[in-house]
């Protein structure tokens, strides 16, 4: 059943319990990396081939001079204009009937071009299988009309799942509600970036604080095709002219 699905992650509701991470690993049979113990509660570290959800922990100053803790469950954004899909040379990365972005494990050959392209540090290279891996939006669960594991497990409904248009409506209403309550720093991320993300986030700080490029920096790899090829062409022409001048016959007798 084709539909356009989306996540809406409301960071103001996240309590950092990591149930989403656990449910994701459980459902998708991801063993995870050995836990890293640093100076915070984040022992997951980053999104990669084993971590398809990652709960970030951020301390921030509030406008009234206090300190607040904000948590955000990060995930693949399933961009409408996906950088990974754009560069993938094997067509392993496809858009599914749910409008999500999926790496076909039987097609991917592990070239890792998608990793170089993804602006959100989502995709990781799995040394065991030799494949690029990331969140599938629980493609198998979607096909069975089930909610993705992370959203299903989230106890505070910080992660919401549904049709993308509904998620946008809910996100917009929530933003208005929070701003109405005086939370002027609240903002929505993902409405416009990369043609609209399929994972929207309600943030309480600038996007870059959460490892999300702002609107000016959310750009596609292909932006560089023309200027890089033109630079190469100019160098080729100059190089050839130099080569012909230097290597042409001297005009003298042999």
């Amino acid at each position: 059943m084709a539909r356009t699905v989306g996540f809406f992650t409301d960071t103001t509701l996240c309590i950092g319990c990591k149930a989403c991470e656990v449910a994701c690993k459980e459902w998708n049979q991801l063993p995870g990396h050995p836990a890293r113990f640093g100076d915070g509660y984040d022992n997951t570290g980053q999104l990669d081939e084993q971590n398809w959800r990652h709960v970030q922990f951020h301390e921030r100053s509030t406008p009234k001079g206090g300190v607040a803790w904000s948590m955000m469950s990060d995930v693949c954004k399933h961009c409408a204009l996906a950088s990974c899909m754009e560069v993938c040379p094997t067509n392993a990365i496809i858009r599914t009937e749910f409008d999500t972005v999926y790496i076909q494990p039987d097609v991917c050959n592990g070239c890792r071009d998608c990793i170089a392209a993804c602006p959100y540090h989502v995709i990781g290279f799995d040394e065991t299988t030799g494949l690029a891996r990331k969140c599938t939006f629980c493609y198998d669960r979607l096909q069975a009309n089930l909610t993705p594991a992370c959203a299903k497990a989230c106890p505070t409904e910080s992660i919401k799942f549904g049709d993308l248009s509904a998620m946008r409506d809910i996100a917009g209403a929530r933003l208005n509600q929070l701003r109405g309550q005086g939370m002027s720093e609240a903002r929505l991320y993902g409405d416009t970036e990369y043609g609209g993300l399929h994972a929207l986030f309600l943030l309480t700080d600038k996007p870059e604080v959460y490892g999300l490029p702002d609107a000016a920096n959310a750009v596609l790899p292909s932006r560089n095709n023309l200027r890089s090829y033109l630079g190469s062409l100019a160098a080729a022409v100059l190089g050839l002219v130099g080569a012909v001048i230097a290597l042409r016959e001297r005009g003298g007798k042999e």
Binding site: V87, A117, F125, G130, E249
Partner: protein, 285 residues
């Protein structure tokens, strides 16, 4: 400064050597073709050497690329869509374009190699206007291979790589310089025509000037982002890059064919390799 949150693709030594050998192969073919098209009979030996170098250097490239894949046996997925069994070509993805360029250039490099081995008498494909046309096409595909490697890096969201327009041109100029140095060395080793060696040395002078200009443009286009590449751990490699450009620039002007020319060529080869190492590793850390 541009924001970057991307993960490194772990393109490492296989890719460094691919870029180096691809640049050498493409550059060597171009120089061989130009010697053939614009040189005189005394240059025939060096042109033959160029074609003898281009194919072996190129032949290593697909091996390196295949070994770099997580699933080497699926290398053919680059060319053929394994789901539909139709040809795969995405003009907006340099990796896809590059695989085809590699294949097309291989055909020209193979034919020219055959001619170099069998001799013009026994292999007459490159005679006449059609032969010259083939050499021009081979040169275009070879230079494309040398340059697209930089475009491949730039068409990403990696810091440094995606923040400059210069990498394609830089690798192309460096590929030509490396090829001129390699051919100069081989001409000397094979006791070839000295006047050709002098001409190759002069050509390299132009390539080095072009490379230096693009190096400056590289850092100018990066702006403050470029400081990442100037951390202490990269300075030895930059020293090699400068030793492979500035020193040969002086040496080649002093003595285009004597002992200093050998030193200059060795430094150019080393500098060309160092350039690729610092650009590839420097952006991924």
């Amino acid at each position: 400064m541009p924001q970057h949150f991307v993960a490194p693709p772990q393109w490492e030594w296989y890719i460094v050597w691919y870029f180096f050998l691809g640049g050498l192969a493409g550059g060597a073919y171009a120089l061989g073709a130009i010697l053939r098209l614009f040189g005189d009979r005394r240059d025939a030996g060096a042109a033959r050497l160029a074609f003898l170098v281009a194919l072996p250097a190129l032949a290593i490239c697909p091996i390196l690329l295949t070994l770099d894949l997580g699933r080497p046996l699926r290398f053919w997925h680059m060319l053929i869509d394994s789901r539909t069994m139709t040809l795969n070509f995405k003009y907006w993805s340099p990796m896809s374009v590059g695989v085809w360029a590699l294949l097309i250039f291989s055909a020209f490099a193979f034919l020219s190699f055959l001619e170099a081995v069998l001799g013009e008498e026994r292999f007459q494909l490159f005679r006449g206007a059609f032969g010259r046309f083939l050499l021009v096409l081979g040169t275009i595909s070879g230079l494309f291979l040398a340059g697209y490697t930089g475009v491949l890096l730039s068409v990403s969201n990696q810091p440094i790589w995606s923040d400059t327009w210069t990498l394609g041109g830089l690798f192309l100029a460096s590929g030509l310089s490396v090829a001129a140095a390699a051919l100069g060395l081989l001409t000397r080793l094979s006791a070839g025509e000295e006047s050709t060696e002098v001409k190759l040395s002069r050509a390299d002078l132009y390539f080095i000037v072009l490379e230096l200009a693009l190096l400056i443009a590289f850092f100018v286009s990066l702006g403050t982002m470029g400081t990442r590449l100037l951390e202490p751990r990269w300075l030895l490699l930059w020293a090699l890059v400068l030793a492979g450009t500035l020193v040969p620039l002086v040496l080649r002007r002093l003595a285009p064919s004597a002992g200093p020319a050998v030193l200059a060529s060795c430094l150019v080869l080393l500098g060309g390799l160092a350039l690729r190492i610092v650009v590839i590793f420097g952006a991924q850390t």
